[in-house]
């Protein structure tokens, strides 16, 4: 501990979180829940851009970085779709509406929705919980529909029960003019009459025109093979954006944990254009 005998006054550090209240919990799949969070005053905790993340914590349990799945165009709350896969997420899944957590952020860069993506035809490719960050972008572009061209959404998961945000996908996205939604699951399943097969191979079957800017998010192996499919289809890496994920503690590029070469995923990412990733040491 610091040995100095200071009495000290208080100033808010970036590592000091805000208190968030859980106002809604939706069970998406057997292991994914979406948490709606506001401040104690009932208002949004902060403003963010699509792709940005926040540190969510339960004191005494842990703190971890999650992408913000709600769109910035939502003026009332933030949402986090969280898969149960560790100590903190196990605990979060047992929590109830009305309980409090801590949140700090937003952190990281965002998808270039107001620059490079503007006016473009967009192709979203998501796998499993990878839909979480892309949902923020999708709802953002749907709310500012005139600023973008055609929208294609390809989403796959292990089974039909593992498709996150299915209700919104079917009832909102699929019904929006100029938006095409393609769903797929890994294996045949009773009660599923849609496409069966992995995302990268379905992607090739769909034969998309190469005039699109692509946003890919999902398990690393899915991203890898989807990128391979895209290259085979004639896309350039400069047309493809993805997000990376590494262990983080501070969220502001100081704790030294999430670096890939000289880049920090928390600060310089999580959004990277695929040609930028090629220039980094392969430690992700």
């Amino acid at each position: 501990m610091c040995e100095c005998s200071c009495g000290g006054k208080t100033k808010t550090d970036v590592l000091i979180p805000m208190i968030g209240v859980i106002t809604d919990i939706r069970t998406e799949t057997p292991d994914v829940k979406t948490f709606r969070v506001v401040g104690r005053d009932g208002r949004k905790l902060f403003e963010h851009m699509p792709g940005q993340c926040a540190m969510v914590s339960v004191p005494g349990v842990g703190e971890a970085m999650f992408s913000i799945t709600s769109s910035p165009t939502n003026t009332e709350f933030q949402e986090f779709s969280i898969k149960r896969c560790g100590t903190l997420t196990d605990y979060l899944h047992e929590m109830n509406v009305g309980e409090e957590i801590t949140v700090r952020g937003p952190y990281g860069n965002a998808f270039p929705v107001e620059t490079a993506l503007k006016g473009q035809n967009l192709l979203f490719i998501a796998g499993g919980i990878g839909l979480a960050p892309l949902r923020s972008v999708i709802n953002y572009v749907l709310d500012k529909r005139d600023n973008y061209g055609t929208i294609d959404i390809l989403y796959g998961s292990r089974s039909k029960d593992d498709l996150v945000q299915l209700k919104e996908i079917q009832e909102v996205w699929a019904k929006t003019p100029g938006v095409n939604v393609y769903l797929t699951i890994d294996r045949e399943q009773e009660g599923w009459d849609g496409h069966v097969g992995f995302v990268p191979s379905y992607l090739k079957e769909l034969e998309f025109a190469t005039d699109k800017t692509v946003l890919v998010c999902g398990p690393p192996v899915m991203i890898k093979f989807s990128l391979q499919s895209l290259i085979e289809m004639g896309f350039e890496k400069t047309q493809v954006y993805t997000t990376l994920e590494l262990r983080m503690k501070c969220g502001v590029g100081k704790c030294g944990r999430c670096n890939i070469g000289s880049k920090y995923v928390c600060k310089d990412g999580p959004v990277f254009r695929c040609d930028e990733i090629d220039e980094l040491p392969p430690e992700y």
Partner: protein, 349 residues
């Protein structure tokens, strides 16, 4: 420039600690480390390298960030108060002084780390020249001059005298507050004579440094544009082998800034969220719920040196995140160190 008898140092320190906390190299349990000095306590200005660096004074090994309580389902957060008491660190060597600049780049860049910034704001550094540089020293490679250690006040101990030269506003203010002690002997030595004595000493120090075995390392290959070439080098394979992954090098290093954030659950007293030094040498450093990006020691070993010599310079105008203090050289139980890495990857051996 002021001169006082070294016999009067305790008096000087007492004068400083009257109004401020004073951190000095203290001899305890056969080791010398920086600690809070209180009158009468023996200090040690002869040991060139304290076991740990002076990093603790600004970035303590462990510090509470905030306390958190949960009562009736309501959370409350009580942030740790920032340092607001002036303090002096006396005796920092040129390498450790430069290391503070390395840490400043990280902690004072946006968003500013206010815990660190408060300590920097309230701390005054009095440096001490290295009169007998050792064989494990290699600061000269990083443009550091052990004969002119910089900081707020520079000092030299030559024979029975301490020469004191303020360099910054903070240094002037400290000097002003100590005038009574500093001037008691100052009048006996004309300024010119003092300057001359120090200049001669500096020349002697620089001559020693010039002859040190590690003073002329070839760093020319360690540039951001060689990132991939260095990363992919097959030499890491033989270099890392003896590494025990103990993390000692990271804890004694004055520039290592990686930290962990953890909770201490005090039951009904609430949770203390604290941060503490961490090490990229440990396997759980990068472990996530869904996997680990650095599963083998070779990757972790490479990360540490790539960070010091390539990644950090890429982010901060070519400044290396090594100051050549040589602590890792003398403390590694497996005789590994950054010098071996520089020589091997730099093409010297």
């Amino acid at each position: 420039m002021y001169r006082i008898e070294t016999a009067g140092l305790a008096e000087l320190f007492a004068a400083i600690s009257e109004t401020q906390d004073l951190f000095l190299p203290l001899r305890k349990a056969d080791q010398t480390n920086y600690g809070l000095w209180s009158e009468g306590e023996p200090f040690d200005l002869d040991t060139l390298k304290t076991v740990k660096s002076a990093k603790d004074c600004f970035f303590p090994q462990s510090e509470v960030l905030y306390r958190c309580k949960s009562e009736d389902g309501k959370l409350s957060i009580d942030p740790q108060k920032l340092c607001d008491r002036a303090f002096v660190v006396f005796g920092m060597r040129a390498c450790d002084v430069k290391a503070v600049e390395v840490l400043d780049n990280v902690f004072l860049s946006e968003p500013v780390d206010t815990f660190y910034a408060a300590r920097r704001e309230h701390g005054t550094i009095v440096s001490l020249a290295c009169h007998e540089p050792e064989e494990t020293c290699f600061c000269a490679n990083f443009g550091i001059d052990a004969a002119a250690p910089g900081a707020d006040v520079e000092t030299w101990i030559i024979e029975d005298s301490l020469y004191w030269k303020p360099l910054t506003e903070k240094g002037e203010a400290l000097t002003e507050s100590l005038k009574a002690v500093l001037e008691s002997t100052e009048k006996e030595t004309p300024a010119e004579e003092a300057e001359k004595t120090v200049a001669e000493e500096q020349e002697a120090i620089r001559k020693i440094i010039e002859k040190l075995p590690l003073s002329h390392l070839d760093l020319s290959r360690f540039k951001p544009e060689h990132t991939m070439e260095l990363f992919d080098s097959p030499l890491w394979e033989e270099l890392y082998k003896p590494c025990l992954a103990c993390g000692t090098c990271t804890f004694v290093c004055p520039t290592c800034q990686c930290y962990d954030i953890r909770d201490f659950d005090g039951g009904k007293n609430g949770v203390q969220r604290y941060r503490c030094w961490d090490s990229c040498m440990y396997s759980d450093f990068t472990m996530m719920a869904h996997g680990n990006m650095r599963t083998s020691q070779i990757q972790r070993f490479r990360q540490r040196f790539m960070h010091k010599l390539v990644y950090y310079p890429a982010n901060y105008d070519g400044l290396y995140s090594c100051v050549g203090c040589g602590r890792c050289v003398s403390k590694c139980p497996a005789s590994l160190n950054i010098v071996k890495v520089i020589k091997k990857l730099g093409g010297e051996v």
